[in-house]
């Protein structure tokens, strides 16, 4: 008769049982935590994928004035220059995503969060912004000012 602690059969068998037990335990733990981890990641919000919006009515803006409007799920900026020309740009600062504003005293676009400056073409000219603001296409249709994404050719 073989004793329980026989070195011939016991330890390998015990190791096997331990591995099964340990593996099962780990697998069950993983099955508990996996849903929790997935739960923590928020569901993806469908980007409305807007290509064109009516930013304002003609006559709403005065020369050297501006307006922030909604472009899809992000804010955008419509500026009427002193020459009466319209410019539309993303209002999301390329530095840390604050919302920029038009400074009529500087004729430039300014981010209040970290003092970033852009010119009216959206070029980052001073302060921390690393990239230019995304520019949009503006055209007037009837009495509406329509802003659309610039299509890459």
């Amino acid at each position: 008769m073989q004793s329980h602690d026989s070195t011939a059969a016991g330890p390998p068998r015990r190791r096997f049982v331990e591995a099964i037990l340990g593996g099962g335990l780990l697998a069950s733990l993983a099955s508990f935590f996996y849903p929790v981890l997935r739960y923590l990641i928020p569901p993806r919000v469908v980007d409305l994928g807007v290509d064109e919006v009516v930013a304002a009515k003609v006559g709403e803006l005065r020369a050297n004035g501006s307006k922030i409007f909604r472009f899809g799920s992000h804010p955008a900026l419509l500026v009427m220059t002193t020459e009466g020309e319209y410019r539309a740009l993303s209002a999301v600062c390329t530095h840390l995503s604050c919302t920029v504003q038009y400074r009529s005293d500087l004729h430039e676009i300014w981010c209040a969060c970290h003092n970033g400056l852009y010119d009216l073409n959206g070029r980052n000219i001073s302060g921390p912004p690393p990239r230019p603001l995304q520019a949009f296409h503006v055209h007037v249709r009837g009495d509406e000012i329509v802003v659309s994404r610039i299509r890459e050719a």
Partner: protein, 361 residues
């Protein structure tokens, strides 16, 4: 037999009460000219308890969410009786708690109380300070006002700059790609459930360690006491030091009440995600030195983005700071002076950058 004595006997019969509280009875506090610094940890603890109490009171009326947060805090401030007082005390105590925690930390550095065997006491304290800053960051957004909205936007965006894992962290914190009502719900969860749970546990660990090792005596005083043991003075913790601590708590409560009554905490205007960030956007003052530094770093440092350099530098400095007691034994003489120099530099840098942040446009 008085009621108190019989209750004590009842407990003693069942739990050996006398044995349980024996260590507390033996606890002493060293008495020397730097002893007042021992009060800071206790005051921080008291302010935390105030936070728990006023936080629970605020929970009775606060509702998280983009359409309700601001309105519910406004309701607390204007309609609920003494709501202004409770919320103002919560805000002031939060700020004071961070202040006393920082002061506590620097006093520990300058008195070198972190040295062996108290390394883990230091580490637990530093983790508590980080948690307190997490409390501040998450609580700042809860009223959903303009200032908080943009500060949170910037703060979470900064975490998004960390290479590789940054974007994941940012989405996790925001509950999406942008700061929205979902962010408020998340921050609310962190602020009232996750952080309090972890913090309470860690405070218990911190206090147990302090209790276990006893109070540290500054090296200079320790050397003098060793040379002439007759000079060593101790004070009993119960009741002598404890009663003094209670007086400090009472004063802190008076200061809080006075601040809240003289200048109730501002609510500001409701956040509008589709409006320009107003001038004067700033985080809470204890993040100011980091905020201002990021403002000063140019867009590109060599080939790296400026803010990435900033975040990594602050991250590395924080990690080194956390491990400070482990470097201390390696340094002797000049090395130790270097550590002190670094601590003085850190403190002056923080004060200078914070002041600059408030003065600069």
């Amino acid at each position: 037999m008085s009621l108190l004595a019989s209750a004590r006997d009842w407990l003693d019969e069942r739990f050996h009460w006398a044995e349980l509280i024996a260590p507390l009875k033996k606890k002493t506090v060293p008495v020397h000219k730097l002893s007042p610094w021992y009060f800071l940890g206790g005051i921080t603890l008291f302010l935390f308890m105030i936070q728990v109490c006023t936080g629970i009171l605020l929970l009775l009326y606060y509702r998280p969410g983009a359409n309700e947060s601001f309105e519910s805090v406004q309701y607390i401030m204007t309609r609920v009786q003494f709501g202004w007082l409770v919320r103002s005390i919560h805000s002031y105590a939060a700020n004071l708690m961070i202040l006393t925690a920082f002061a506590h930390m620097f006093s520990v550095v300058f008195l070198r109380a972190y040295r062996k065997p108290r390394e883990l006491t230091w580490v637990s304290g530093m983790l508590l300070l980080f948690l307190a800053m997490g409390f501040g960051f998450s609580g700042y957004l809860l009223p959903w006002n303009t200032l908080a909205f943009f500060a949170t936007k910037v703060g979470t965006e900064i975490s998004g700059q960390v290479p590789l894992i940054g974007h994941g962290i940012m989405v996790f914190l925001r509950g999406g790609e942008d700061v929205t009502g979902a962010t408020v719900t998340r921050f609310f969860g962190f602020h009232v459930a996750v952080l309090p749970g972890i913090t309470t546990l860690l405070i218990l660990v911190h206090l147990a360690l302090v209790q276990y090792f006893g109070m540290s005596v500054p090296p200079g005083v320790e050397a003098r006491w060793k040379a002439s043991p007759g000079e060593a003075r101790q004070m009993k913790f119960f009741p002598n030091f404890f009663l003094r601590e209670l007086m400090a708590w009472y004063i802190a409560l008076g200061v809080l009440g006075a601040l809240a009554a003289i200048r109730p905490w501002d609510l500001g205007t409701k956040a509008d995600p589709f409006s320009a960030a107003p001038a004067g956007i700033r985080p809470e003052w204890y993040f100011m030195f980091m905020f201002q530094t990021l403002k000063e770093i140019p867009a590109k440092v060599w080939f790296l983005d400026g803010e990435v350099v900033g975040i990594l530098t602050f991250g590395a400095a924080g990690a080194l700071w956390l491990l400070l007691p482990f470097f201390d034994p390696l340094a002797r003489g000049r090395g130790r002076r270097f550590i002190m120099g670094a601590a003085i530099f850190a403190l002056s840098y923080m004060i200078a950058m914070t002041t600059y942040g408030y003065l600069a446009k």
